[in-house]
Symmetry: C2
Subunit: 335 residues, 2 copies
């Protein structure tokens, strides 16, 4: 076994898009664990849009990653040493243990996962943070009712693809906004979306009118910017807009683009509400069980996009912002 | 008695601020009423920010005023002829009977008011549409709890001054945003606001930090634009933003300014929701009774700004957008 821990650390806070300047690649000795600790060999690292926010030195729902610190990330791996009473060698665990090949943990934020129940990467996606985000964001905040029209942006991503599929299960008409004909075809043919809008090749506002002839009741927003603004022109009375993210705006060097059509909220007595997944942590088990059931029954299909090699981390992260991932983006530590 | 009805009609739809080009002043014979109709001598006409929206040829919560039509407005007046079984000569009635000195009505949207219970202009303000807007917008959508901080813009206006006073009754810390030291002094000294921000002479963001040391839990927005955007930087977890209006944006010739800080809704799991008063019409009597009680007990004070002479209508309307009114703006038909 190697004694080297490969790590990506925050070197400088990016202005705009992260670049090679943002990161330091370091190799250190794997530390020795003490009582109450365990050592995890990380197999998969989750690559999520939220990571961009964690790089900003701003008050937010979670403290920023510090300069010199190993980059925060969701992880899943195997316990290979343990002096912790709750975890044994051979256990598989999911947590937030960072962009590194090994992690020492005192168990905080860790939970055991079963690799026989689902492939390990699922615990970073549909059964992990993105899954919980989509589940609670749509059901609690979006409150879709059968027969309503649900629109979701970033529809081919980890959160969006789950949101659309849950909305279908709930009896809604579902329209996904994604970039490129391949993703759009997948959403309709494989995931059962009713229609899609290819924002890279279509006029979104026109396409919304065509694909949502009865207007939009729930909009689950992962992208912000012009697409949010266009959807606001098509919402129905008492529509719910779930603000989950704004990936189009995260690497802005200028101010975020505010939705100039926000007065549509007034005209339509509609609501725009932000969500943060961690607020639902006590209910995660309920959601995981229900989603796992839908996967088993075939109602929910999962698409992972796995990139191999921890050394690719900076480029792999950028795939998110360039819309190059197709499904839940996961970094496999070993090539 | 005169036989002439003086009326202001929409001549052309304004681009930007209404001007003399917007209106036609006409004099016609007062029509003869037929069975089921009544004739109202209008005493007071309500001048409200919402009127600007009614001039736009756009899909909204109410159909636009048509070219050539008498301008829509809230009114209160006396029945001087009646062939309607529910209304008798001498009744005082409130309704939406337009910017004119006499109106023929079939009773639609009319309700009787008691001039002995409250001065007639109150039925256009605190006991009329603005009162209902403030009452339901704050209590139903804002949901203020004792000890929370409530910020209201347009605080010296008809809606804002009521919102602040109701929030005080509910045990909140109340901060009003208004233009000019005279209005600000009035809000604190006469209406019991805890603090004010004079947006014409203060940096709103800085002043919010000073006057809301515990952050903002409820923001009742009548103005939009930069002030909404500044408040978004100061909201607390689970804050509620009530979108009632955006008077700063109504006469824009360019696109409305969207709130670029809207992602604060995400970070704070906060909500921004639009309201339209007419949705609560069935509950108006409950609200009117409660507000009347508060007026009697002295918990709510009323300030009207009455301008005399229907001929001043175009200039009087512009007072709203220039922030020149101080209290509920009402046009008295006769000089």
């Amino acid at each position: 076994m190697t004694t080297i821990n490969r790590q990506w650390r925050l070197k400088t806070r990016p202005v705009g898009a992260p670049s090679t300047e943002t990161w330091d690649y370091t190799e250190t000795e794997i530390p020795t664990i003490t009582d109450g600790q365990l050592l995890i060999k990380i197999d998969y690292i989750s690559i999520d849009p939220a990571m961009r926010g964690w790089l900003n030195d701003a008050k937010s729902y979670i403290k920023p990653v510090q300069i010199g610190e190993v980059m925060r990330a969701g992880t899943v791996g195997e316990v290979i040493e343990s002096k912790h009473e709750k975890f044994a060698v051979g256990d598989y665990v999911a947590g937030h243990d960072g962009v590194q090949s090994y992690a020492v943990s005192d168990g905080t934020g860790l939970h055991k996962v079963d690799p026989n129940l689902a492939p390990l990467p699922y615990y970073l996606g549909v059964l992990g943070m993105p899954g919980m985000t989509g589940y609670f964001g749509l059901l609690k905040t979006g409150q879709p009712k059968a027969g309503e029209t649900v629109v979701v942006s970033g529809a081919a991503g980890a959160v969006g693809s789950l949101v659309g599929q849950i909305a279908k299960i709930k009896g809604c008409r579902v329209v996904g906004i994604a970039g490129g004909s391949e993703k759009c075809k997948f959403l309709v043919d494989e995931l059962g979306f009713d229609a899609t809008i290819d924002y890279k090749n279509e006029n979104v506002k026109k396409a919304l009118k065509q694909t949502c002839p009865n207007g939009v009741d729930v909009y689950f927003d992962n992208v912000g910017g012009d697409i949010l603004n266009d959807v606001l022109t098509q919402i129905n009375l008492h529509a719910r807009i779930v603000i989950c993210g704004a990936i189009s705006q995260y690497n802005n060097t200028e101010a975020v683009k505010g939705p100039s059509n926000y007065l549509s909220l007034l005209v339509n007595r509609a609501r725009m509400e932000g969500i943060v997944v961690f607020d639902n942590i006590k209910e995660y088990p309920i959601a995981m069980k229900e989603i796992a059931g839908w996967i088993q029954s075939g109602d929910i299909k999962v698409k992972d996009h796995i990139v191999k090699g921890i050394e690719t981390f900076p480029d792999t992260l950028m795939m998110l912002f360039n819309g190059e991932n197709f499904g839940k983006l996961v970094l496999k530590v070993e090539e």
